[in-house]
């Protein structure tokens, strides 16, 4: 089937998307070569000065980048393990199956920043319920938001709460679409549940798992809302991610030119590393 009409179908969407995006991207690249800041708000040309500054004299950006990698990789691993476990548990018949499925889905339907506002009162160090309840059993008070190490875990807890449902949804949808025959064969061979999982379920789920992990990594690499409300990157810079650092440089200190440099570099690193991760995961999980 090949028609001239095919362009009529494709082009509206493609050109709208390109049309909206082309300006921001070209503009970012051009802006990254300028020294636009609050003193000289103009599109001058200073060559690659900004890039030299970024690669030689800005440890804070790289720290924020490694922090982001740590946060997104650890949350996605946790989400995958918990999401897979939950999906397996409500895959077959259990009591109140549909009730639990709905409950497990709910967090992803809620607005992250708004729930984070609630989490902030939840983890409030003197007026929140967590420290109060822990206090009753003699633990505490834990500095959920003001200790540089614990604050990272608080961010992870909130992110896991928020996005495990998405992982759960993708994996459960995958499980429900698996063919029945391999499981029957395994049952006839008398395989235990554990062996069934290792030799049948997991390999069949590998492609779906990779897809789900990559989708979640892409979304997790944009962690911003949670950090913004929960800790504002603090205490100090303990939970500052790349996006948040770029936000500070660009829209709080108005170093637009430098922020564009950061943005563009960040985008390139993101695309490269996600491509590599996708390739490596495919190699690791699908054994031919």
């Amino acid at each position: 089937m090949n028609f001239k009409h095919k362009y009529v179908f494709l082009f509206p969407g493609l050109f709208v998307l390109i049309g909206i995006l082309i300006f921001p991207i070209i503009f970012t690249i051009r802006l990254s070569l300028s020294g636009w800041n609050s003193y000289t708000p103009e599109m001058n040309f200073i060559g690659i000065t900004n890039y030299i500054r970024l690669f030689t004299d800005d440890p804070r950006f790289w720290e924020s980048f490694f922090r982001l990698s740590f946060l997104s990789v650890s949350t996605v691993i946790l989400q995958y393990i918990i999401g897979f476990a939950l999906a397996l548990m409500v895959w077959r018949e259990i009591k109140f199956k549909r009730f639990f499925r709905v409950i497990f889905l709910i967090p992803m339907m809620t607005t992250p920043v708004i729930m984070t506002v609630i989490w902030r009162t939840f983890f409030h160090e003197s007026l929140g319920p967590v420290n109060d309840l822990l206090g009753h059993i003699g633990i505490g008070p834990i500095l959920w938001l003001s200790d540089p190490v614990i604050a990272k875990f608080t961010v992870i807890i909130v992110e896991v709460w928020q996005w495990t449902p998405f992982m759960f949804l993708l994996l459960l949808a995958g499980l429900l679409s698996l063919p029945k025959e391999p499981f029957l064969a395994a049952a006839i061979d008398g395989a235990s549940s554990f062996r069934k999982f290792v030799y049948v379920t997991f390999p069949l789920m590998a492609p779906i798992s990779i897809g789900a992990i990559i989708i979640r990594l892409i979304e997790a690499s944009k962690i911003m809302d949670t950090v913004f409300v929960l800790t504002s990157g603090g205490p100090g810079t303990a939970t500052e991610t790349s996006s948040f650092y770029i936000y500070i440089k660009g829209l709080r200190e108005f170093q637009m030119g430098y922020a564009a440099t950061l943005s563009f570099t960040y985008l390139v690193i993101m695309i490269i590393s996600l491509t590599i991760i996708a390739k490596v995961l495919t190699k690791l999980m699908i054994k031919e």
């Binding site: 179908f9 802006l31 259990i94 809620t110 708004i114 009162t121």
Partner: protein
């Protein structure tokens, strides 16, 4: 062994359920508190621990002039922006997805898969990277701080999702369907509109739900690109947070903002249980 496994399974499910429900329960309880019951000590159960009041909820519908927070207008703004952007994204995304699923495109080294990847890869773009140029772009064409400007930006967020779900979905709709329609004398548009589309309702619903979810929950663009004329719900609620933080109205507004999409969870579950989603999400 089997018993132990069952025990662990139910323990885990129940613990996780408690974890999911906990912040909601806390928010419900907090929304009925007053200054005294928030700030003296931690209280949980109304009537037992504290005397509940409706102040937190009443404030939401009062006008700002009388000390309210007026959440009604941001609510409708959010609904408008989310629905408009979702609708446009679904229409354009579905058309593009159909083309990518049925026809072969060749331009230099670019093939169908590359075009699909181009669409989907827009999700990689961190909002912060786009927000600064969008800020300048929208102020140049006079759409900063307007609903229309936000719709334009949200299309970029949502169309990739629509394309991602619909390409997979159309790939599973048998090609014979359109071919039969063409033999019966339809032109390609009629074949798409009269035959393929009616058979794609489940996919369209799933794509629509995802667009609505990801549109509704966005905060960052709304935060950067609007100020006073137009406010979306998440921005409004977060703004409450930064002022003197009245936890009761904060909780009430948070609950009322997340409520509509919780219905979506039921719809998603329905499709999941009927097996329609498994096809659409693989």
């Amino acid at each position: 062994m089997e018993k132990l496994y069952k025990f662990l399974k139910y323990t885990f499910i129940i613990l996780w359920t408690v974890f999911i429900v906990a912040p909601f329960l806390w928010a419900v309880s907090t929304s009925f508190k007053d200054f005294q019951s928030v700030n003296s000590k931690v209280t949980y159960i109304p009537w037992l621990d504290f005397e509940p009041t409706l102040e937190g909820w009443r404030v939401l519908v009062k006008s700002p002039a009388r000390g309210g927070v007026d959440i009604v207008e941001p609510y409708f703004n959010s609904i408008f922006v989310t629905c408009t952007a979702s609708l446009i994204s679904i229409v354009l995304g579905t058309l593009a997805a159909y083309a990518l699923s049925r026809f072969t495109f060749k331009a230099g080294f670019v093939r169908n898969n590359d075009i699909t990847f181009f669409f989907i890869s827009q999700r990689i773009m961190p909002p912060i990277v786009l927000s600064i140029p969008f800020f300048i772009f929208l102020s140049t064409i006079g759409l900063l701080d307007s609903l229309l400007g936000l719709v334009v930006v949200y299309i970029v967020l949502l169309m990739p999702i629509a394309v991602w779900i619909m390409v997979d979905f159309f790939n599973r709709v048998p090609k014979e369907l359109d071919e039969t329609a063409l033999i019966d004398g339809c032109n390609p548009y009629q074949a798409f509109y009269k035959v393929v589309l009616p058979n794609s309702i489940p996919g369209l619903i799933v794509a629509g739900m995802f667009c609505i979810i990801f549109g509704w929950i966005d905060f960052f663009f709304a935060f950067i690109l609007t100020f006073t004329e137009v406010q979306l719900l998440p921005v409004k609620v977060v703004a409450l947070n930064s002022s003197i933080t009245p936890w009761w109205s904060l909780s009430a507004s948070a609950l009322i903002s997340v409520a509509p999409l919780i219905i979506v969870a039921f719809v998603v579950e329905r499709y999941l249980s009927k097996g329609n989603l498994s096809g659409a999400l693989k």
